[in-house]
Symmetry: C3
Subunit: 367 residues, 3 copies
Amino acid sequence: MPTTLANLAELTGGEVFGNADTLIDRARSMEKAEARDITFATDPGKLEVAHRGTAAAIVVSRSLAGSLPLEADSRSYLLVDDAFLGFLQILDHFAPQPERAGIGVSDQALIADDCVIGGNTNIFPQVVIGSNVEIGENCDIHPGVVIISDVKIGDNTIVYPNVVIYQNTTIGKNCIIHASAVLGTDGFGYRMVNGAHQKIPHYGCLRVEDDVEIGAGTTIDRAMMDETVIGQGTKLDSQVMVAHNCIVGPHNAYASQTGLAGSVVTGSHVICAGQVGIADHVTIGDRAILGAQCGVPKDLPGDQTYLGSPCDVDSQAIRSFVNVRRIDEIRAVQKKLVKQIAKLEAQLESLCDNDPICGNDPNSAAA
Amino acid sequence: MPTTLANLAELTGGEVFGNADTLIDRARSMEKAEARDITFATDPGKLEVAHRGTAAAIVVSRSLAGSLPLEADSRSYLLVDDAFLGFLQILDHFAPQPERAGIGVSDQALIADDCVIGGNTNIFPQVVIGSNVEIGENCDIHPGVVIISDVKIGDNTIVYPNVVIYQNTTIGKNCIIHASAVLGTDGFGYRMVNGAHQKIPHYGCLRVEDDVEIGAGTTIDRAMMDETVIGQGTKLDSQVMVAHNCIVGPHNAYASQTGLAGSVVTGSHVICAGQVGIADHVTIGDRAILGAQCGVPKDLPGDQTYLGSPCDVDSQAIRSFVNVRRIDEIRAVQKKLVKQIAKLEAQLESLCDNDPICGNDPNSAAA
Amino acid sequence: MPTTLANLAELTGGEVFGNADTLIDRARSMEKAEARDITFATDPGKLEVAHRGTAAAIVVSRSLAGSLPLEADSRSYLLVDDAFLGFLQILDHFAPQPERAGIGVSDQALIADDCVIGGNTNIFPQVVIGSNVEIGENCDIHPGVVIISDVKIGDNTIVYPNVVIYQNTTIGKNCIIHASAVLGTDGFGYRMVNGAHQKIPHYGCLRVEDDVEIGAGTTIDRAMMDETVIGQGTKLDSQVMVAHNCIVGPHNAYASQTGLAGSVVTGSHVICAGQVGIADHVTIGDRAILGAQCGVPKDLPGDQTYLGSPCDVDSQAIRSFVNVRRIDEIRAVQKKLVKQIAKLEAQLESLCDNDPICGNDPNSAAA
């Protein structure tokens, strides 16, 4: 379903520079865009890359107007306030995000009698929901989801297929829980009794606040007592692990395979790149950024970037990475110094053979 | 349902120091406990922290009696043999662990005709069990579990929702398998044939011994031939990976995101903190402790703690961590030494201009 | 069901050296083989190990004939072209891989009306398939699999239990997708708007080419736009993560817990050992080998092995590992040098007390 650039201008509130009748088939990245495609560029460097391609049209922010050629020539431009946002609208035009189903509560879902389910919520077939569960309005609970018992889920929350939610879990509004995530499982706690690990029961709960997104296969433990918390607006990628009694602050973002041991506390807007590990009982300050594969053994102040395992402030970590590669050179210089000194010592000794006061302890000699 | 401290004393076999009529609403951690809460303290330091809070009562071990104030005053104490154990009993009083369901074998589970299922075992709806499967007594097989075929599960074992168990898997008694774990999958084995990876079939099995707990999303491969083993009493956290033909010893404990490559062998009571990686065919001795993010390329003797990647004995690893941060200083000193030596050389040279035998090879000069 | 060595020779196209009537019960590894077992050895070293055991017979490659004893004695041998391949055939004889079920499309699967399913394909009970899904011939879609919508799966592909496939995913022919893998999930992409992470919708797709195997619990994101690709013949172990817009080349092999951030591009035959992490937008050359726990912050040329985090070419990385452990020695030598130089300086000074031109700036002194 091709459309004209004029139509896309109307859709995005933009204006055309060039030929408004240009027919557009698809929206694609600047690397992939072809003759009847539209792409986008958010800065002069990317605009240059886009220009090397064959896209029929390019969405650019109005602030980039000065970087455009004087005449549109064979290529046209769509000028908008924010090129990326405008391009997202165009992507949505060509391949709209799937609409919500309207199936309501499937009679092929198994739901305990005492559950309360809000209006306009879809419970798909093959869902199993235990007792004392409350689900808000406009939720989607996809096939294969199992909710054990004693769970609350807020309005507008999506739970993708095969997610498992253990007892004592509360999930806020506007959350997205991706496939096969496991929420509220027992924490990893044992006491050593007669040489064997004796399980510590977990009486606490997991509380996921509003606007949280949780990735596929991510696992979050409930607390031993009190609660594990995922703060408002926080986003966890796939295969993240959050252990019992962690208090994750608001607006955090953790990339895949990051793991928090028990009782970690984080401030707001903390960022973890992939495969970060944080030791138990560590506190991380607001806006700290932990680089990929960071290992965090102790508390970290916020407003800093950290790298390495065990991690350092980025500038120190980078010095360490560079310095380790200088050890060969340090050793080579040291070997040379050892030889030079041996030679100096020998020379001095031979000089001293001709000097009556030399060769004694220098201090006593000076005396 | 508030209760008196006297009742909790009866429950725990403890004695009250202070007001036995104190009403208690909840059991909470020392950081969270409020006016009508009971908390606990296992050592004098924690007792001090608890004293700073407002808890109505504190459970303490009798061995701490000497650290208590002379008069109970506004706060009361419950003296028991083991404060943590006593507190667990009180936690259970206020929020008992859920009782086992008594649903038996659901007619909404799909079970092959030749399966044998023990008395008092619950098979929940939406469970699928293939042929030649034997399940013991008092087991719980939760919704969404799929057992492919040729599996044995011992008495009193709990399998949480959406676990998948492949063929040739044996699970012992008193095990707990958490949600979405995958047991007995094909190992990652290929032969390179004409530039392509050709799959090596996996004929072996997985044997999980008694009293094992396996975390959510953990994956364990069956053996190529012979068996993969998880030893008696071993506990694996969420998202652990154990590859084909590993022989994990008894009473091991591995924190989340730890991975064992193929054919690893571990002794008893081995501990891995989070994100540890052990290379294939490595053997780990009894009671070895591997710190978080340890990388283990070769065999390790037991009764030691290891850190780093590649790992070292902890004392050496800590020296290395510290030493790397000293390289700047080493270089600075070295630069100074280079200058000092240049100066010494120049001085000696100028001295030698006045000395007939100087400047020659020192040995020949000495001769 | 014991069989004679003669029968196994016929099965494998091999010839017996020793007693063709030897009765064989099982095929086992050289470490485990007992009196009525057959084992195998692929090189003289392993043959020696096998000789120490009690196996009744050993499969050896014809190229090893020279390493056999002159007379077979109490042990017999089966000579074949490729000992490992021959042994695999014998393993299969004793414990054949399970045959495909022949259940067809279960009426206990829930399948949207517009789906197209090829001949001889099994759709097991409890499978849920949304609209616009096309599945080829001879496929197995195991219980608990959920296919959201808009998915194509090629012929002869196996999808194990509880796998979830999101919209816009294409899977090729002859693929194996292990239990609880999640394919085509939303990428981890947000824009910071007024201090909150605003979700970027994902309009792209995931394309898995032919002959790919994907491990249990592995998660792969679909692209933001364009596509995420897993190249032909590539094998991913359990708990691997591939983020949005990655282009993984053909015949790659990634061991467990490896993670690729967004937009990584890899050549052909790239190998990652376990727990490797690759940063976003990095390109990896053909046949690069990344050691366990490698951290890859930037592009890497192919035909090299890399180690460490941040990684180096293996020879440099190994030097670094060794060098860090030499810092103590470097410091000790440096301390000695500092003392030696101090002594030399003092000696020179005392010498100079007797020398009129000494002690001035050496250059000016020399002038």
